[in-house]
């Protein structure tokens, strides 16, 4: 994998593209990162109560353009993707063009019919958000009574049809005590799992979700949890190949900031193209230009692509830099500067540092095996 990642990065092939098909959702999650989006003309075809959405014909054309430039991995998300009546048709078109397709959903609208279709269409994996191991906390976070029960039904249908499921649980103040139970629940359902304490600003700049981010003390505790450690190991491996962060100071300056605009890309429900789902810098719209032009020639895309770690001057002397997984998108969204310090990255790396000191102390005492190896 490392070889192909290096290759597509060098050749600027958009191997992985994330598409949000809608902003509509049947839940009202406290921490939701999907904002209102760019204003578009109302009344045009495809306009919903949540604004304009690319129609099936547009999406088909975009899929063909993506296939032509080498894209293989598609993530279809929202909003809630199953609110699109044409979702199965969209997935069918994607599979006909031989894309690997992942679906991000809250699971509440997945019944037997949808699960069977996902199996028939060979969906790579369905990611279902679950915030608690019972309805109480989950429904509090989603703002919809009965949503936990429906999500669980959805997961069970998917598993019954043999569809791979990953239970995703953002960790926030409201469900800090729940994530271990969610882990046990996911395992009992035969699902993979992922926990993420990184609650982010909405993509329209709304900072309300940050109120739910856990304290650094709690983050340190979470990072020390063995069930989180196994995921962190894979994250470290990912960091190495994605060049999200550098391990050697001497190599940092010429490193790219991240994979955004190098081999990953994002398309909004309105057809706006950004370098990454977390980097809302408008590079063009697929209704005005073809994808290839935007990817290879948009001035904004080229600007992002040409940035290097040496351009992040304010962080160059930071003692945490070798371990920092700074995300330029989060720095831009949360702190307003693509090349400035990132509050989110500082919050994370300082907790990791505490975790490291904690483990060093354990290792020195030689009483129990260290969690971090």
């Amino acid at each position: 994998m490392k070889d192909i990642i290096s290759y597509v990065q060098e050749k600027k092939i958009p191997l992985a593209v994330h598409i949000n098909l809608t902003r509509r959702c049947n839940l009202h999650c406290l921490h939701c990162c999907v904002g209102k989006g760019r204003k578009t003309a109302s009344g045009q075809a495809g306009t919903t109560e949540a604004g304009f959405e690319l129609g099936l014909m547009h999406i088909q054309r975009v899929f063909e353009e993506l296939a032509q430039v080498g894209c293989l991995l598609l993530t279809l998300s929202g909003g809630e993707v199953l609110l699109r009546d044409d979702l199965l048709e969209i997935i069918s078109r994607a599979r006909e063009l031989d894309f690997a397709v992942k679906i991000f959903t809250n699971g509440t609208l997945v019944g037997r019919k949808e699960a069977q279709a996902f199996h028939r269409l060979r969906i790579q994996e369905v990611h279902v958000s679950l915030y608690g191991a019972d309805a109480k906390i989950h429904d509090l976070i989603t703002g919809v009574s009965g949503s936990w029960t429906k999500s669980m039904e959805g997961i069970r249908w998917l598993r019954e049809e043999g569809v791979a499921v990953k239970v995703k649980c953002p960790i926030m103040k409201q469900n800090l005590a729940e994530y271990r139970k969610v882990y046990e629940l996911a395992v009992s359902l035969g699902a993979d799992y992922a926990f993420d304490p990184m609650i982010t600003v909405r993509d329209d700049g709304n900072r309300d979700p940050l109120n739910y981010r856990i304290s650094q003390e709690d983050l340190q505790m979470v990072l020390a949890d063995p069930i989180f450690q196994t995921k962190r190991k894979s994250y470290r491996e990912r960091e190495e190949s994605f060049a999200c962060s550098a391990s050697m100071m001497s190599e940092i300056s010429e490193e790219v900031l991240c994979s955004a605009g190098h081999y990953i890309c994002f398309i909004s429900p309105e057809g706006d193209i950004n370098p990454c789902v977390q980097l809302p810098i408008f590079c063009g719209n697929v209704l005005e230009h073809d994808f290839q032009w935007i990817w290879y020639h948009s001035p904004q895309m080229l600007r992002i692509r040409n940035l290097r770690m040496k351009d992040v001057r304010s962080c160059n002397n930071c003692r945490y830099l070798p371990w920092c997984a700074r995300c330029p998108g989060l720095a831009y969204l949360e702190d307003g500067d693509l090349l400035g310090p990132s509050s989110a990255a500082c919050w994370m790396v300082q907790a990791k540092e505490g975790d490291r000191q904690f483990n060093n102390q354990i290792q020195a005492n030689n009483q129990i095996q260290p969690i971090v190896t």
């Binding site: 994998m1 070889d3 192909i4 290759y7 597509v8 050749k11 092939i13 191997l15 296939a67 080498g70 894209c71 293989l72 991995l73 599979r95 031989d98 894309f99 690997a100 397709v101 060979r122 969906i123 790579q124 994996e125 791979a164």
Partner: protein
């Protein structure tokens, strides 16, 4: 065995990038890459040709290589693709063009 048809498994997704096949096996989320000859064979795994026919095509297209070496390499390659769940072996020609 070589008289049987060979087709890409439905549990894969693939793209030819600069002549190199990049294949995702959807059951284990693994990306595989093939070299130029492997990619050419992958393109031919449509369920419309037997393994023997594919070997003959490769022998014709790579005339600078020894035919027996090509045959041996192809047989190993077919087994490797099959063991990784990337292809299926069919008794009859697949329907459609796939």
């Amino acid at each position: 065995m070589l008289a049987k048809y060979i087709a890409r498994n439905e549990n894969t997704a693939s793209r030819i990038i600069d002549g190199q096949a990049v294949i995702m096996t959807l059951t284990d989320n693994t990306l595989h890459t093939l070299n130029a000859v492997g990619s050419r064979i992958w393109e031919l795994c449509t369920g419309q040709k037997t393994m023997e026919e594919i070997i003959q095509i490769i022998q014709e297209e790579y005339i600078s290589s020894r035919p027996d070496e090509i045959r041996s390499d192809c047989e190993i390659f077919f087994k490797d693709l099959y063991s990784k769940g990337m292809v299926v072996i069919l008794d009859e020609k697949a329907q459609g063009n796939n």
